[in-house]
C-alpha cells in the first residue's frame, strides 16, 4: 500500500493567499485514518492556519513520533519536509532540527501515548528548554493503532470500549507544560475548528515553546458513553475561557467588541492576538493563577479550553545558547574551521 496522492488539478477560481498559494497547496496525501477521526479535523485546521498566515509551505518542517496522531503529518503540508521519527522522541529530533536551522517553522505533532507515556521525558525537556516550535498533542486517551488500550491521559474512572475501568490517575499535559515553562499554552477540541484554527495560528507566530493540547476523540475506540474523551462528553463539558482572533501586523482591526470583554496581546513578531474573554476573571498572563484555575475546573469535571497562558516576550533555546543569527547549517569551513595556523599554535602549547 502506498499513500494516495490527491489529484493536482483544482478549480481555477480557488482563492489564493498573499503568496499565491491555494488552500490545496497546503494539503497532503489522502488520510488513511478512520472516517470521522478527530485527528483529520486537526490536520484541516493546520492547513487552514498555514494558508491564512501566508506561510511558504517549504519553510515549515513537520515532525512526529509514532501512533495515529504521528501519522497525520503525511496528510497535510505535502510540500514540507516531514519526519516521522521514533515513538515518543519527536521532541529531541525537533530540537536538533531547530538548532540546525532556526529560520524554519517547526510543527511537532504527537499523541497522548507518544507524549504522556513513552515520551513524557522528552515532552518535559523540550518545554523547559523553550524550543521555538508548535507542539500539538492530539489527545484521545487511547492507543488507537494497537486497538484501544488506555493511555496515560485517560481519566480515572473512564471506561474503555470493552468495559474496563481505568484506575490510574491521568497525566495533565497542560498543567505540566505550564509548570515546565512553556510560553504559550492552549487547549482546544478537534470538533471546534473556529476555536482551534486561530490558536494554531497564534502558536505558530509565537517565538517560543507553544503547546496545544487538542482533545481529539477516537471514533473507533473511545467515543462511547463512559469515556471522558468522546465527542459528546467534551461538548457537554467544554468550558472555553476565551475566544481568539488573530491579526497579522499589517491587518486592520475590523471586529467590534463590547468594552471590557476584549484584551489585546501583541506578540514579539508584531502579531496581535484579540482575546474575547468568556470567563471574565481569567488572566492568561498569570501562570500560577492559570494553573490553579485549571486544577479547580478539572476537579469539577470541566474541560477548560482556549488560550490558557501566553508570554508575549518569550526566550527561546537559541537565545539561551546565544547562537549566531545565521542558521548553523549554512556555515562552512570559513566560519567553522580554525585552520592549520591555529593548529600549529595548539600543537606548540601541547609540548
Amino acid at each position: 500500500m502506498t499513500y494516495i496522492a490527491k489529484p493536482k488539478l483544482h478549480h481555477p477560481a480557488l482563492p489564493t493567499n498573499k503568496l499565491g498559494y491555494t488552500r490545496r497547496d497546503y494539503e497532503g496525501s489522502v488520510s488513511t485514518l478512520c472516517a470521522g477521526c478527530g485527528h483529520d479535523s486537526i490536520s484541516a485546521a493546520i492547513i487552514q492556519a498555514c494558508f491564512d498566515l501566508d506561510l511558504p509551505p517549504h519553510r515549515i518542517a513537520k515532525l512526529s513520533g509514532i501512533g495515529c496522531s504521528s501519522k497525520t503529518p503525511t496528510y497535510f503540508l505535502g510540500n514540507s519536509h516531514g519526519f516521522n521519527s521514533v515513538h515518543g522522541r519527536m521532541p529531541s529530533v525537533l530540537t536538533g532540527a531547530n538548532l540546525a536551522n532556526r529560520d524554519l517553522i517547526y510543527l511537532g505533532v504527537s499523541g497522548d501515548g507518544d507524549s504522556a507515556s513513552i515520551g513524557l521525558g522528552q515532552f518535559a525537556h523540550v518545554m523547559r528548554r523553550g524550543v521555538n516550535m508548535v507542539y500539538i498533542v492530539e489527545n484521545n486517551g487511547v492507543y488507537g493503532l494497537t486497538k484501544g488500550q488506555f493511555s496515560a491521559t485517560a481519566d480515572r474512572g473512564s471506561k474503555s470500549k470493552r468495559g474496563a475501568v481505568n484506575s490510574d490517575a491521568p497525566l495533565d499535559l497542560i498543567g505540566m507544560a505550564l509548570q515546565l515553562g512553556a510560553t504559550f499554552v492552549a487547549r482546544s477540541f478537534s470538533g471546534d475548528k473556529v476555536q482551534l484554527v486561530p490558536l494554531i495560528e497564534a502558536a505558530i507566530l509565537h517565538q517560543g515553546a507553544a503547546f496545544i493540547d487538542v482533545i481529539s476523540p477516537c471514533v473507533a475506540f473511545n467515543n462511547h458513553p463512559g469515556s471522558t474523551k468522546s465527542f459528546d462528553y467534551v461538548r457537554e463539558h467544554n468550558e472555553a475561557v476565551n475566544r481568539l482572533d488573530i491579526m497579522s501586523p499589517r491587518a486592520e482591526i475590523t471586529a467590534d467588541y463590547a468594552p471590557g470583554t476584549m484584551e489585546t496581546v501583541v506578540q514579539h513578531d508584531g502579531s496581535i492576538l484579540h482575546l474575547r474573554k468568556l470567563a471574565t476573571n481569567y488572566d492568561p498572563h498569570d501562570r500560577i493563577a492559570a494553573m490553579t484555575y485549571l486544577q479547580q475546573r478539572q476537579a469539577a469535571g470541566e474541560v477548560v479550553t482556549g488560550l490558557l497562558f501566553v508570554d508575549p516576550e518569550p526566550v527561546d533555546l537559541h537565545a539561551g545558547l546565544n547562537t549566531v543569527a545565521a542558521p548553523l547549517n549554512e556555515l562552512g569551513e570559513r566560519e567553522l574551521c580554525p585552520g592549520a595556523g591555529v593548529l600549529a599554535k595548539v600543537n606548540a602549547a601541547l609540548r
Binding site: 511558504p56 518542517a61 519536509h81 530540537t95 522528552q122 547562537t323 592549520a340
Partner: protein, 613 residues
C-alpha cells in the same frame, strides 16, 4: 637486599594519591618536565568511580625507547595515600624504591627489606610553612615534585619553566609554587643521597610530538570537522570529550563581531535525547555529534536503527569502558565493537573508526563528519578510556587548509529547479548512496517524508516486499562503498618473512609495538596489521589469507573483532587465534608477548627459525 635498581630513562613511577587532593596537576607537572627533557613518558590515571577521598593512582612509564604502553610493575612508588599503603608497598619490584611522607613514624613492619626507602617529611615541612589547610595540601603536592626532581636528577629549570607557563596570567601564583618546589627539592638535596639508581637523563627522543588526551583531541577534531550541534549526557569516560568541545568552541567558535556562538551544545536529559538531537540536526543539514560510552550506546539503539534505515548522518564517539551493564565505569575495555557494528534491531551494519591515539582521535574525529555526510549513516569513532582520558605522546595534530568539507550528495535549489529527478532513496550513481535535500530548499520540489518505516525509492511509504528488499540491498551496496572510504589498515612487516600475523586496533597499539619488538628479539617475527576501520578493507582479508595463523589481539572477553572478521570476512575460524585481555587495566606488551610466545609452540617455531638462519 637485592641490588638497588639502576635504570636511566627506563622505569615506572607510580603515584598513589587520594581522589580530590589536587595531586593531578602536580603529577602532570612531573610528567611534562620529563617530556621537556626529551624523554618519552606515558602517564595513566587509575581512578575509582568516585569524587573524593577514594584512592587514585597515576602510573607513569618513562621509556627512552619510546614504548608508550603500560609495562606492569613499579620501580618507584610515591606512596601518598595511607589507605593503600600495604598494596602499594607490595607492588614495588625487588630492588625498587619507596618514596613516602615520613612526617609520622611508621613501624618497621610497614616496610619491606628488599626495597629502598626514601622518606621526606612533607606534611611537617608543609605545616611549618603554610597555615591555610588547602595551601598545605596543594603545596605538599608541589613539594613532592621538588623532592623527586632531586631524587631522579630531573632538570629543575624545566619544572620552573612549566610552572611559569601554567600560571601565565595569574603571575602571583608562580613564586609560591616555585618556592614550594624548592622546599621539597632542597630538603631532599640536603638530607638524601641524590640521585638514586633511577634517573632521568636529557635525551632527544620526543621530537615534535604533542601530549594530550584523546577526548580533547577528538573534540578538537569536531571543531575542525565543522560540527555545529553537539548533544550529550554525562557519562564516564566520555564527558570530558563534550566538555572539551565546549571549551574549544569558546575559543574558536565565537563570532568576533557579535559575540555569538557558531555551535549549539545541549546537555540532554539522557542518551536517547542526545542521539535524537543529533539526528534531527543532521537531517536538517548541520554536522552533529554525541559522545557517550557503552551504556549510552545501549540506550541509543532504536535511534541508531532509524538513522541507518532512514539514512541520516550522525557521528557517535564511544569512549569505551568495561561492561556489561555499569561494569567498571572507570576502567578501559574494547567491549562495544559488536554492539556498535550491529547496533539496533533488524539487519544493520555500521561504520566504525578505530583510532590508536589522540592524533588519530583528532584525524578520525574530523573525518567522521565527512564520512557521515558522504554515506548518510551513523559513524562510530571508537575510543576507549585508555586513550580518551589519559594524556598520550603522539604525532602533532595535522590539518590541510586546502581541505574542503565533503557534504555528500545534497540536491540544491538549482538542481531541483533544473528538473533533476529527485528520489530520496534512488541510487543514481551505482554506489548505493542516494541524494538528499535539506528541508526548506525549494517551494515546490524536493520535499519528502523521512520515516523509519519501509518506503520506495521516492520515499513513499510501502510494505511491498520487493521495494523493501531493493532498499535493503542498496544499503548493503552502500556499505561496500564505505569500505573504500574508511581509513586503510596500517601494516608493519616483520624484518624476516613470517607465516604468522597479528591483527590489532585502537589503544592496544603501543603495547603491540613493544611486544612485536620483543617477539622479534626472541626469534618470533610476526607481520602485523593495525585495523583502523570497519567495514574491513580487502587488505585485511588478504593479510589473513597470506598467513598460516593470525593472532587477533583485543581488550574484551569475547573476541569481538575476531567475531566480526569471521562474520564479515568469511574467514576460517581455525586460523584466527584470539589474544584477549579484559581485566580493565590497559593491555601490556608483557601480556601480548607471553600469550603469543606460548601459542607458537616449538613445532611451529622451528621452521620459522630455519627461515631466519
Amino acid at each position: 637486599m637485592p641490588q638497588p635498581l639502576e635504570r636511566i630513562n627506563d622505569f615506572v613511577v607510580k603515584f598513589a594519591n587520594v581522589n580530590g587532593s589536587g595531586s593531578a596537576s602536580a603529577n602532570q607537572l612531573f610528567a611534562k618536565a620529563i617530556l621537556r627533557m626529551g624523554v618519552p613518558c606515558t602517564p595513566r590515571n587509575i581512578f575509582p568511580s568516585n569524587i573524593q577521598v577514594l584512592p587514585t593512582w597515576y602510573e607513569m612509564r618513562i621509556s627512552e625507547a619510546g614504548y608508550l604502553g603500560t609495562r606492569g610493575g613499579v620501580d618507584l612508588m610515591v606512596a601518598m595515600n595511607p589507605q593503600t599503603w600495604d598494596q602499594d608497598v607490595a607492588g614495588i619490584e625487588p630492588g625498587g624504591y619507596l618514596f613516602y611522607d615520613s612526617s609520622k613514624p611508621l613501624p618497621r613492619s610497614k616496610f619491606r627489606d628488599d626495597i629502598n626507602i626514601i622518606g621526606v617529611p612533607l606534611t611537617e615541612i608543609s605545616n611549618r610553612t603554610y597555615s591555610d589547610p588547602r595551601q598545605r595540601q596543594l603545596f605538599k603536592n608541589i613539594m613532592y615534585v621538588g623532592a623527586l626532581s632531586a631524587v631522579l636528577d630531573l632538570d629543575v629549570n624545566e619544572v620552573e619553566r612549566l610552572i611559569g607557563e601554567q600560571f601565565k596570567g595569574k603571575d602571583k601564583l608562580i613564586a609560591p609554587n616555585v618556592q614550594a618546589l624548592h622546599l621539597g627539592r632542597d630538603w631532599a638535596l640536603q638530607n638524601l643521597e641524590c640521585p638514586i639508581g633511577l634517573r632521568v637523563r636529557r635525551a632527544d627522543k620526543v621530537g615534535d610530538r604533542v601530549f594530550l588526551e584523546g577526548n580533547s583531541a577528538a573534540a578538537l577534531g569536531c571543531v575542525y570537522g565543522g560540527a555545529t550541534v553537539a548533544a550529550w549526557y554525562p557519562i564516564t569516560p566520555s564527558s570530558s570529550l563534550a566538555e572539551a568541545f565546549a571549551s574549544h568552541c569558546r575559543r574558536y567558535r565565537v563570532d568576533r563581531d557579535t559575540g555569538k556562538n557558531r555551535a549549539a551544545i545541549i546537555q540532554a536529559e539522557d542518551e536517547l535525547a542526545s542521539i535524537g538531537i543529533v539526528i534531527g540536526a543532521a537531517w536538517n543539514g548541520a554536522r552533529a555529534f554525541t559522545a557517550t560510552s557503552g551504556p549510552g550506546i545501549s540506550l541509543m539503539q532504536e535511534f541508531l536503527g532509524l538513522a541507518y534505515f532512514a539514512e541520516i548522518p550522525a557521528v557517535v564517539f564511544d569512549v569505551q569502558r568495561s561492561g556489561p551493564s555499569t561494569g567498571m565505569p572507570t576502567r578501559t575495555q574494547q567491549g562495544d565493537i559488536l554492539c556498535c557494528a550491529y547496533a539496533s534491531h533488524g539487519d544493520t551494519k555500521h561504520v566504525l573508526l578505530l583510532p590508536e591515539d589522540p592524533h588519530e582521535c583528532f584525524e578520525f574525529g574530523a573525518l567522521a563528519f565527512d564520512l557521515a555526510d558522504r554515506l548518510q549513516t551513523p559513524i562510530f569513532v571508537m575510543l576507549d578510556l585508555d586513550i580518551g582520558m589519559n594524556e598520550r605522546l603522539c604525532a602533532p595534530l595535522a590539518w590541510d587548509d586546502a581541505r574542503r568539507y565533503d557534504r555528500g550528495k545534497v540536491m540544491t535549489y538549482d538542481d531541483l529547479e533544473a528538473g533533476k529527478d529527485f528520489g530520496r532513496y534512488l541510487d543514481v550513481d551505482g554506489d548505493g548512496i542516494p541524494y538528499r535535500t535539506y528541508p526548506g530548499t525549494h517551494p515546490k520540489r524536493g520535499s519528502f517524508f523521512t520515516r523509519g518505516t519501509s518506503r520506495d525509492r521516492y520515499a513513499r511509504y510501502t510494505e511491498e516486499g520487493h521495494a523493501y528488499a531493493d532498499n535493503m540491498q542498496r544499503l548493503l551496496k552502500k556499505f561496500t562503498t564505505a569500505k573504500s572510504l574508511v581509513p586503510r589498515p596500517v601494516r608493519r612487516a616483520a624484518k624476516q618473512p613470517s607465516r604468522f600475523g597479528v591483527l590489532y586496533y585502537g589503544s592496544t597499539s603501543p603495547a603491540m609495538a613493544e611486544a612485536l619488538d620483543g617477539l622479534e628479539a626472541r626469534g618470533l617475527p610476526l607481520d602485523a596489521l593495525r585495523l583502523r576501520g570497519f567495514p574491513f578493507h580487502d587488505e585485511v582479508i588478504d593479510f589473513v589469507a597470506a598467513h598460516d595463523r593470525v593472532f587477533v589481539v583485543e581488550q574484551n572477553r569475547d573476541a569481538q573483532l575476531r567475531t566480526l572478521l569471521l562474520a564479515e570476512g568469511g574467514l576460517d575460524p581455525a586460523k584466527l587465534v584470539a589474544v584477549l585481555h579484559y581485566d580493565g587495566t590497559p593491555i601490556t606488551a608483557r601480556f601480548i608477548l607471553g600469550r603469543i610466545a606460548d601459542q607458537l609452540d616449538p613445532a611451529n617455531v622451528r621452521p620459522l627459525r630455519k627461515v631466519m638462519s
